[in-house]
């Protein structure tokens, strides 16, 4: 081996060793593997339990959340709000995404977080279970899905969500940005998931509101197909009514 080659090898060796070390460092630690093994298996695709899909792709759906126990002011606002005809179901946000015909979702349960990924990808929820607290007030602003942290009580995921942007929680119902959500999510049986959600909203509600949402495991999908409304929305509202616009020229 000539002197030049030996010099190059001497320079390369530490780099190669460093690379090998970093490969090992990227593997899951035993601690993480144990933490993962202790988590429930919620693998698969789920949807709100009432949704039934017909052969023509039309879903039948019954909302499970019901009517909030509004205080007088918000009940009056609700009564004055336009009916479903003027509403569009797009970018639902939380908690509407939990009680929607577009609530097909996948759950990814990891030690550090649980990901709730719906077909409306913009409403993906990241529920941190790594022990962190909500960000301090000055670092927090309302968003469509809010800020969620969680912890495990046995096989039940307890989720605490705040800082959700005021807006619809279903087709007509609304809550303020002061709403605070506690969810207890667990597997009832291997094909059914339950989310008991308790909502407090000092601005809109008279008392805490508890709803139970259930989800069914669905086996006729092999992937999430994104749902959104901007690609080819041909239903403009004209004089308060939905219409059909002609196709855009190609």
């Amino acid at each position: 081996m000539n002197k030049l080659l030996r010099r190059h090898l001497a320079l390369l060796l530490p780099v190669l060793l460093l690379g090998a070390t970093s490969v090992h460092a990227d593997l899951n630690s035993q601690q993480r593997l144990h933490a993962f093994a202790a988590l429930p298996d919620w693998t698969g695709f789920w949807e709100q339990d009432s949704v039934r899909l017909g052969a023509n792709g039309i879903s039948k759906f019954k909302p499970l959340m019901g009517h909030p126990p509004y205080n007088a002011e918000w009940e009056a606002k609700y009564q004055a709000a336009p009916g479903p005809a003027a509403h569009v179901i797009c970018s639902l946000g939380f908690p509407a995404i939990m009680d929607s015909p577009y609530s097909q979702f996948e759950l990814v349960v990891l030690p550090e977080q649980t990901l709730f990924i719906p077909v409306d990808f913009s409403s993906t929820r990241q529920i941190f279970t790594d022990g962190r607290a909500h960000p301090p007030k000055e670092d927090l602003w309302p968003t469509p899905i809010g800020d969620s942290i969680g912890h495990w009580e046995g096989q039940t995921l307890v989720v605490d969500t705040i800082s959700r942007k005021a807006g619809p929680i279903s087709v007509r119902n609304e809550l303020s940005d002061q709403a605070h959500f506690i969810e207890r999510i667990r597997l009832v049986d291997k094909n059914r998931l339950e989310d008991v959600m308790t909502i407090e909203d000092p601005i809109a509600l008279m008392r805490p509101w508890q709803v139970t949402l259930t989800y069914r495991k669905i086996k006729d999908v092999d992937r999430l197909i994104p749902y959104e409304c901007s690609e080819n929305d041909r239903n403009p509202i004209v004089n308060g009514h939905f219409t059909i616009a002609p196709p855009k020229p190609k």
């Binding site: 023509n56 792709g57 409304c229 690609e231 080819n232 239903n235 939905f242 059909i244 196709p247």
Partner: protein
């Protein structure tokens, strides 16, 4: 191609009085008249596999006059689950479609079901 128009030719229209179906779309479905079903026979001008709705532009001829209907379907996600694919319909396909027409009488409708020129239901591999 033959157009069977709710407005123009009641005798040939198939009217079905049915219970309102709680159809789900990205908006209210009140624009469609679920008490009425209409059968349209025509040729596919375009099949738009898009969000939030897929669409079929259907050319329907009746008494020498051709009209273009916009038939609204569900989202690609829902249709995919129901056995549809982007290539299920092709330009020029001759199909017979049952629809719920628009309440305002415009040439738009919601897709209910269809059969192809071979008499088979579309899609050929429906929901499992």
């Amino acid at each position: 191609m033959k157009r069977v128009s709710f407005r123009g030719n009641l005798a040939r229209a198939i009217l079905v009085l049915a219970l309102a179906v709680p159809a789900v779309a990205h908006h209210s479905s009140a624009m469609f008249d679920f008490d009425k079903s209409l059968t349209l026979k025509g040729a596919v001008k375009d099949f738009q596999w898009t969000n939030p709705h897929c669409w079929v532009q259907l050319l329907v001829a009746d008494n020498g006059v051709t009209t273009e209907w916009s038939v609204q379907m569900q989202s690609p996600g829902n249709l995919y689950r129901a056995g549809w694919r982007p290539g299920t319909l092709k330009v020029g396909d001759s199909i017979t479609v049952v629809v719920h027409p628009m309440r305002d009488g415009s040439l738009g409708a919601e897709w209910v079901s269809a059969i192809g020129a071979d008499g088979n239901t579309i899609p050929s591999s429906p929901l499992k």
